[in-house]
């Protein structure tokens, strides 16, 4: 299946792009998607402890399952306001 990965702020800078498309063998979770990214770009790995995740623009969990066509987002600690 194919998912869109969204990366923000420093994660985006580290990856060199805010939006990636990845093909993954299902069944997959958010964590599966993340592991694939870190395998490609080890520098992202440090964020695993502190980031948040979202699926289809809704906050989610690493354990949440992912379906074909989903948008999976990885969010560094926030600093709005």
């Amino acid at each position: 299946m194919r998912v869109t990965v969204r990366l923000f702020a420093r994660l985006r800078d580290l990856a060199g792009s805010g939006e990636l498309v990845r093909d993954i063998d299902g069944p997959a979770t958010v964590h599966t998607v993340w592991k694939g990214l870190v395998a490609e770009m080890p520098a992202l790995g440090d964020y695993e402890r502190t980031m948040s995740v979202a699926v289809n623009a809704d906050y989610s969990r690493m354990s949440a399952s992912v379906s074909d066509g989903d948008e999976v987002a990885f969010l560094p600690p926030v600093s709005g306001g």
Binding site: R6, F8, R10, P77, V78, S79, G80, G81
Partner: protein, 160 residues
């Protein structure tokens, strides 16, 4: 995005318009508390040139809407609106505006304070600080809207 009183926008924020929207709809409200966050010229010893705000826009709008709902559940007689700006913001310009209207000033103040605390906790928005000699992404809280202890901390700060 359809959420009332909520916006994530790259255009300058208009406190007067938001005040009219939030407070104008009920003549029973005697108290309006508001908050403006302004870009400061310094941060942690650095001379800031400007800030660039990035948002995950659809989730940010949804999250601000969630905060508006939390306020209504905490203070049923009180309404709040919150607009957050994105993109490049110059020193002295507003990054966020919040307006709370209530029959009671204690609730208006509490709702306004609660809202800014929650924005900082859970809104998927990031500051990219450009200072003399470099730039840095600021990182604060790990956003988790379901973290009850964070929510209670915001409530305690607002109501204590």
């Amino acid at each position: 995005m359809g959420e009332p009183f909520v916006a994530v926008t790259s255009v300058p924020l208009d406190l007067q318009a938001l005040t009219r929207e939030v407070a104008g709809s009920c003549v029973g409200d005697g108290a309006v508390a508001s908050f403006i966050g302004l870009v400061r010229d310094h941060n942690q010893g650095r001379r800031v040139s400007y800030l660039d705000y990035e948002a995950y826009e659809p989730l940010a709008v949804r999250t601000l809407g969630r905060i508006v709902d939390e306020v209504r559940s905490n203070w049923p007689d009180t309404r709040v609106g919150v607009h957050h700006r994105t993109g490049r913001i110059e020193i002295g310009d507003a990054s966020v505006i919040i307006v709370a209207a209530s029959p009671h000033r204690a609730n208006a103040f509490a709702a306004c304070r609660y809202t800014i605390e929650r924005v900082k906790q859970i809104a998927p928005i990031w500051k990219h600080e450009h200072f003399e000699g470099g730039d840095v992404w600021l990182e604060g809280a790990t956003a988790d809207p379901d973290d009850e202890s964070a929510r209670q901390a915001a409530y305690r700060i607002a109501c204590a």
